[in-house]
């Protein structure tokens, strides 16, 4: 402690200047002043040293502060840091690393890191150390770490080599806790595995195809279905399913690659067998909306198709029986309808003979009589032909049809019923009307059935001024035919019941007519229902879709 230690920096400076000026002022020639001069010089040195000392102290404080700051940064870094010697003994570590190891620095320091690892991981860790030491390159490894607190962490160690002042090789490592990451990865993998398990267990065929027609993924059902010719290992779609099948799929695949979701029914040849598939194609796009690949999901619907065909055949046969029954009930009317032209023909010919005998027949009359006879012959044969067509057993067949034509045909048939009972029939036909794919005979059958029902309701109820209105309408998607009567009307309970099999309000009725009609309309993907109308009578609605022919269960013929 010098006599100046109590001085502050300014006071020291002042003292120093004072001594220096004293030194200069001194008469250097005076010998007795020699001793005093030395003393003063020493004073100056002392002050300078004190000042230097102070500067050093301040620098030291700064350095210590800085060191502490870096020590803090080291200790509180979010990832663990540790230094190992070449045998894996912990020489240094930060607090984060301590926390991972589950203990205090003082306990952990000097311990081999391998005590926190399984045997397998220990070996891997030593290999890692060796690699870093020998190659002096940066290296990393993933390990399982069991802390002293018993917690298992997944860690990644990234290490570099450093040589200490003493020339020892030190491995400096960052220890990163990747437990969350690993858990997420594991969960993802598990999900993926589960998804694969499910997709493989599915009875539907699932495959992922890229834009070059390479199969990215196929499930078991797909592999099983297209296993022909040991093609299971073939990863190109065209080679896998064959050119012919591919040609049938191509337009749909192209549409899906354009970014459209596609749903279609396609018939493919698998194992030399025709198989019907319902196929959904789902484009798989990246974030920019570019289709990278697509999923093709195929369901074998052959059995369903077969059943559908069988039920169609059954419906055709039921409908035929119902028509025969209907015709049977109309025998009197039909006979009358054929009788009319026949009677007229008989009249013409008898009259012709009579006139000819009495010489009153001129050439003009002859032409007219024969023309009249001809017209009546056609009238009769039209009815018979229609009857023949109507009573024939036949497969269902769809053709593009104007329902107004069907309405007119049926009214011709019904013409006999109305005059006998004074029933007026009003036609309100939408012209032009959208065409729809229907089986003409079946729809005529439904119309006839519904119309006869209306006629019978009017006759039985002895309705005054009996009126049947038949109306057609069409929108973009459907055609609607309304048959309304002004009869007594069905009660609300009966409105639904009339479509049940064996339902009849008539003593003689079998009660199958309307239930078959409903089946017929439903087989056209349409609807048949009844409501009470404003005149308190009943209105039947026949709704038929204007759908594309492929959606319909019945096959289309172009006759």
């Amino acid at each position: 402690m010098s006599e100046f230690s109590g001085y502050n920096h300014e006071e020291l400076n002042e003292k120093l200047n004072e001594f220096l000026s004293n030194l200069n002022d001194t008469d250097r020639s005076a010998l007795d002043d020699k001793e005093r001069l030395l003393l003063e010089s020493l004073h100056v040195h002392q002050i300078e040293l004190e000042m230097q000392n102070r500067e050093l102290k301040s620098s030291q404080a700064d350095l210590e502060k800085s060191r502490d700051k870096y020590a803090d940064l080291f200790d509180f870094a979010p990832i663990g840091y540790a230094s190992f010697n070449k045998n894996g003994v912990i020489e240094e570590l930060n607090l984060t690393a301590c926390k991972l190891l589950g203990s205090e620095r003082s306990i952990v320091l000097g311990k081999p890191f391998s005590v926190f690892l399984t045997l397998n991981d220990s070996m891997a860790f030593f290999k890692h150390l060796k690699e870093v030491t020998s190659s002096a390159t940066k290296s990393h490894i993933k390990l399982q770490l069991k802390s002293l607190a018993g917690i298992i962490y997944s860690i990644q160690i990234e290490s570099t080599l450093r040589t200490s002042d003493s020339g020892d090789k030190i491995i400096q490592s960052a220890i990163i806790d990747i437990s969350d990451h690993v858990a997420t990865e594991r969960a993802l993998l598990e999900n993926k595995n589960q998804l694969h398990l499910i997709i493989n267990a599915l009875p539907v065929l699932v495959t992922q195809i890229d834009s070059d027609m390479q199969l990215i993924f196929t499930n078991k059902a797909y592999d099983k279905s297209f296993a022909e010719n040991k093609r299971q290992t073939e990863r190109h779609l065209i080679n896998r399913i064959g050119n012919k099948n591919f040609t049938r799929l191509e337009p749909y695949i192209e549409s899906a690659l354009d970014g459209h979701e596609v749903s279609c029914e396609v018939s493919l040849t698998v194992d030399n067998k025709k198989t019907s598939y319902h196929i959904n194609l789902l484009p798989n796009s990246d974030i920019h909306g570019v289709v990278k690949n697509l999923y093709m999901i195929m369901i074998d619907i052959s059995a369903y198709k077969q059943k559908e065909l069988a039920s169609m055949a059954h419906l055709a046969s039921l409908a035929h029986e119902a028509r025969i029954y209907l015709i049977g009930q109309m025998t009197t009317e039909i006979a009358h309808e054929i009788n009319q032209p026949l009677s007229a023909i008989a009249n013409y010919s008898t009259a012709g003979i009579g006139l000819q005998k009495s010489g009153k027949l001129d050439a003009e009359d002859v032409t007219e009589i024969f023309n009249d006879i001809d017209a009546q012959v056609h009238r009769a044969s039209d009815i018979i032909n229609h009857l023949k067509k109507f009573s024939k057993k036949r497969e269902l067949q769809l053709s593009k049809t104007n329902v107004n034509t069907l309405v007119k045909e049926v009214l011709k048939f019904l013409v006999v019923e109305k005059p006998r009972h004074g029933i007026e029939i009003q036609k309100i036909l939408d012209e032009p009307i959208s065409l729809t794919y229907v089986d003409t005979i079946l729809i005529e059958q439904v119309l006839l059935n519904v119309l006869r029902n209306a006629v019978e309701a009017l006759i039985e109820s002895r309705t005054k001024k009996p009126l049947i209105t038949i109306k057609t309408m069409s929108t973009e998607s459907e055609v609607l035919i309304l048959v309304a009567d002004n009869g007594p009307g069905l009660s609300y309970e009966l409105l639904d019941g009339v479509f049940e099999p064996f339902f009849s309000t008539k003593e003689s009725g079998v009660g199958l007519g309307l239930s078959i009609c409903k089946s017929i309309i439903e087989s056209h993907n349409g609807n048949l229902w009844a409501t009470r109308n404003a005149e308190m009578g009943t209105t039947f609605y026949i709704q038929l879709p204007i759908s594309n022919q492929a959606a319909l269960p019945i096959k289309v013929t172009n006759d």
Binding site: H336, L342, N347, L355, K360, R379, V416, P419
Partner: protein, 204 residues
């Protein structure tokens, strides 16, 4: 006989009207045609000798309704009804409603012209009593079994049904039927019906 007799044809079927008119022309009769019962009521002009040939089924007012309406309109012209083949119930109704006779379509041309000519020539009242007399005498000739078969025939029952009804064979029915036709001197079912109707109507 200088004045031509007129046949008034009421039928909704155009071909029927036209062909019947021509047929009347061929047997030297004048014909007026009407397309409905309403048309007839509106346009009918009484003249003698004349008769009406009317279809039983027509839109609007029915043939039977018109028949019932005629006396109230003081129209006394004799009416012949045209019915469908085998439509016996309609024929019976028409006769009971006052028709003088009926013909079935398609017509037996000879029967039709005869019926119409007779209808025009004969005074209705006399004709009725005459026929009744003749038919009653003839019906008395039938045996009990033949009577039973006759009753069923005129109700429009077919041979098979009659056989089942009476518990006899179809062949026996056919034999009875032939006998009945011979005894009554007729050759068609419609004649049988006619006899039955006359005998029933005028018995009471």
């Amino acid at each position: 006989m200088t004045k031509k007799a007129t046949v008034h044809i009421v039928d909704d079927d155009e071909a029927m009207r036209k062909s019947l008119k021509l047929l009347m022309k061929s047997i030297d009769l004048h014909a007026e045609t009407y397309h409905s019962a309403e048309d007839f009521l509106e346009n009918f002009q009484a003249s003698t000798p004349s008769c009406v040939l009317m279809d039983v089924r027509m839109p609007g007012m029915q043939g039977l309704d018109l028949l019932a309406l005629l006396p109230t309109k003081n129209i006394t012209v004799p009416v012949v009804i045209m019915t469908g083949h085998g439509d016996i119930p309609s024929a019976v109704k028409a006769m009971k409603a006052g028709a003088i006779d009926f013909v079935e379509k398609p017509f037996n041309q000879e029967a039709l012209t005869n019926t119409i000519k007779k209808c025009i020539q004969t005074s209705t009242a006399r004709r009725k009593s005459d026929t009744q007399q003749i038919y009653s005498e003839k019906l008395a000739l039938l045996s009990r079994r033949e009577n039973e078969v006759f009753d069923r025939l005129v109700k429009g029952k077919i041979n098979k049904v009659i056989a089942a009804d009476l518990n006899i064979s179809v062949r026996t029915v056919e034999a009875h039927r032939a006998n009945i036709m011979a005894k009554l001197g007729v050759n068609s079912l419609s004649d049988l019906v006619r006899i039955s109707i006359y005998s029933q109507i005028y018995k009471t």
